[in-house]
Each structure stands twice: as C-alpha cells, then as structure tokens.
C-alpha cells in the first residue's frame, strides 16, 4: 500500500517536472497571444502586399503563400534585430527545403540594407521599405511599432505566431517543426 502511494507521488512529481520544463520551453508562447483587434489584417491583405527588394524589384508576399512564412521586421539600427538574424538564417537553412520561408522586412533604406547584406549576408530575402514597413507591422499587431517583430503565417494566410522582441532558436525550431507539415 505505502509502495503504491510512493509510486503515485513519484509519478506525480515526474509529471509536474516535465510540465515545468515544457512550460519553460514554451515561455515565449506566453507572449504569442492572439492578434489584437488592431491587427485587422487577413490573408488576402498579407499576400497582396509587396515590398521592394534591395535592387528595387517588387516582391509580393503572395509568392510564398504555400510556405510556412516568417515575416521578421528589423532595421540596421536595431541591435537586437541584428543579433537574432543569424539564428533566423540557421532556421532557413534547416527548414527551407521543408517549406519554410523567412522574409526580413526592413524599416530602413535600400542602401543601408544593401550594405548590411554585403557585410552580414543572410540566406533569405531582405525587403527594405522605410516608409511602409512599420505601418504594415502595426496592421499585424505591432501596436507600438517596435523592433524586432516577428510573425508566422501558416500556408493559406492564418497568422499563428507573433512576437515583439527577439525569438530564440529553441522555441522557433520547435514551433516550426510542429507547424511545417500542417
């Protein structure tokens, strides 16, 4: 009898420890709240939006509507943004062939982004639009227009993740792995 009780308690502790680890791992998800009412953007709007690349050629977000699309808003003057870009490049390398597409939308000038690309190249498109990028991010729930700001759009256009502030590789890897096959 006591052995059974001890077993139950040990099991309970093990389950709680696992739960604590899971919650800790997904701490970021605490901030991955549903979009605020101001984020009145739908898939049609996202996919109909275009930004110029560093050569000035217009790039429609619609070209990636069958991908798990990560939109990362950043700027060359934003230190936390630049710090997280290598990990985004790692994610692109790891999951790109499985259907992930990361796009960096820069609140910056084409010249600054072009210079950045020369010194710190990344393996995903960088689309600079100093004038429109912040407004677009605000429509996606970035109320204060802060950077970095990241959203994940599922194939078809549903926004399934948003983050104000840097992401971590651990959380994003898990999130992407969980959603990329869906």
């Amino acid at each position: 009898m006591p052995r059974l009780l001890i077993g139950l308690i040990v099991g309970l502790v093990a389950i709680l420890a696992g739960l604590a680890l899971w919650l800790n791992d997904y701490d970021a998800a605490d901030r991955t709240k549903p979009l605020e009412p101001t984020a009145n953007v739908n898939s049609a709007v996202i996919y109909a939006t275009s930004f110029p690349d560093i050569t000035g050629r217009s790039q429609s977000l619609g070209q990636w509507q069958k991908k798990l699309l990560i939109l990362n808003f950043w700027a060359t003057w934003c230190a936390p943004c630049k710090e997280e870009m290598p990990l985004l490049a790692e994610l692109q390398a790891e999951f790109g062939s499985k259907g992930l597409q990361i796009v960096g939308i820069a609140v910056d000038s084409p010249l600054n982004v072009s210079n950045f690309q020369k010194t710190s190249p990344v393996n995903y498109p960088l689309l600079p639009d100093e004038g429109r990028a912040i407004d677009f991010s605000k429509r996606l729930g970035n109320r204060l227009g802060l950077l970095p700001y990241t959203i994940v759009v599922a194939p078809g256009g549903e926004v399934i993740f948003r983050r104000m502030g840097p992401v971590t590789k651990r959380e994003m890897s898990a999130f992407i792995a969980q959603n990329i096959a869906k």
Binding site: M1, L8, L12, L16, A20, A79, K82, L144, L147
Partner: protein
C-alpha cells in the same frame, strides 16, 4: 488514518488536476511586458535658455535608453551638428553589433547653439524657432523604437518650457510659476 489505494489515487489525481490547472492558467495569463509609447519612454521638453541657446531635456523612463549618435537636429530647416563634446558623457554600452556606443539613461540634457559665435541673433532675425529633433532609443526588454521625429516651437524672448505640440510663442505673460525651469519641471516629476 490509513489510505487505501482508491483514495490515494483520487487524492493524487485531484492534486495533479489542481496543479495542472493553476500552472496552465499562470502560463496563459502571464502578461506581455508592458512597454511605453515612444513619447512616454523618451519625454522631450525644451526652452530658450537665452537668445542664443536652446536647452533640451529628455526624461528617459526606467528600463529605457537613448543612443547619442542617433540624435539629429534641425533649426528652422537648417541642420545643426553637435560635436561629441557638446553632448553629455553618457554611459558606454558594449553592444554586440555596434561595438562601444554612448547611451543615456534617466535623462539627457543638451544645450543647442542657435547662432554663430560672435552673432547675437539668429540668421534672418527669425523670432520664432522650430527645432526638429530625431532621436532613437531602445528598451532593456530587447526591443528598439523607430527613429522618433519631434519638434518644438520656441520663440526668442520666452524662456517658458515647451513640449512637442506646444508653443511658447507670445507666451511672455504665461505664468512661469513652478515650471519656470526644466530643473523645476524635473523636481515636480
């Protein structure tokens, strides 16, 4: 009191449910860090210190900082460039991407010359001044604000404190009261 197997199991299950519920609830209700709007994180005010100098003050909220090298000034449409010595010392921040940068916390106090040395008045004898300032800062939470463009409307002869959107033009009769200086304003805050 002896516990039988069934009651022990029930007890453990109940405990597990309660703990699971409270843990999940705590996770989903954990608030997102509250961040201030840029104008509140970096509160700008200014005044004419004399006919040749504008005094500018930023109150920087706790947990926020501003970059020295991101300040840009324009007086009546003409760019004004300050030398490093005209900025307060600030705090050196070792930034992973930008290297050593000078940042300001708590407050920034700047004196902007509005006329060239040897001249007592602003070129063009303008009585009204429009000071445009671009600034940029970040929060310790790991986010940065886009460049903040603000302007102060000032008038020669008036030392009243103004904030963006206000003007001291024609405010000679405005009661200075306790707000007669930026220091007083700071004391009140």
């Amino acid at each position: 009191m002896k516990l039988n197997t069934a009651s022990a199991a029930r007890c453990a299950t109940a405990m597990l449910l309660v703990m699971l519920t409270s843990a999940t609830s705590a996770a989903t209700t954990k608030p997102e860090p509250e961040l201030l709007e840029a104008e509140k994180a970096f509160q700008l005010s200014g005044r004419m210190r004399d006919d040749r100098t504008i005094e500018v003050r930023y109150l920087v909220a706790d947990g926020y900082y501003m970059y020295r090298d991101r300040f840009r000034f324009e007086i009546n449409g003409k760019p004004l460039k300050l030398t490093t010595k005209q900025f307060p010392p600030g705090k050196i921040k070792q930034d992973a991407t930008f290297g050593k940068v000078v940042t300001y916390r708590n407050s920034v106090h700047l004196l902007l010359p509005v006329s060239k040395p040897g001249k007592t008045q602003i070129e063009g004898a303008a009585k009204d001044l429009v000071l445009k300032i671009t600034s940029q800062g970040c929060a310790d939470a790991g986010v940065c604000y886009p460049p903040l463009h603000q302007q102060l409307a000032l008038a020669l002869g008036s030392s009243a404190i103004v904030t963006p959107g206000e003007t001291n033009a024609g405010s000679f009769s405005r009661p200075a009261g306790p707000a007669g200086s930026i220091s007083d304003l700071l004391k009140r805050n």
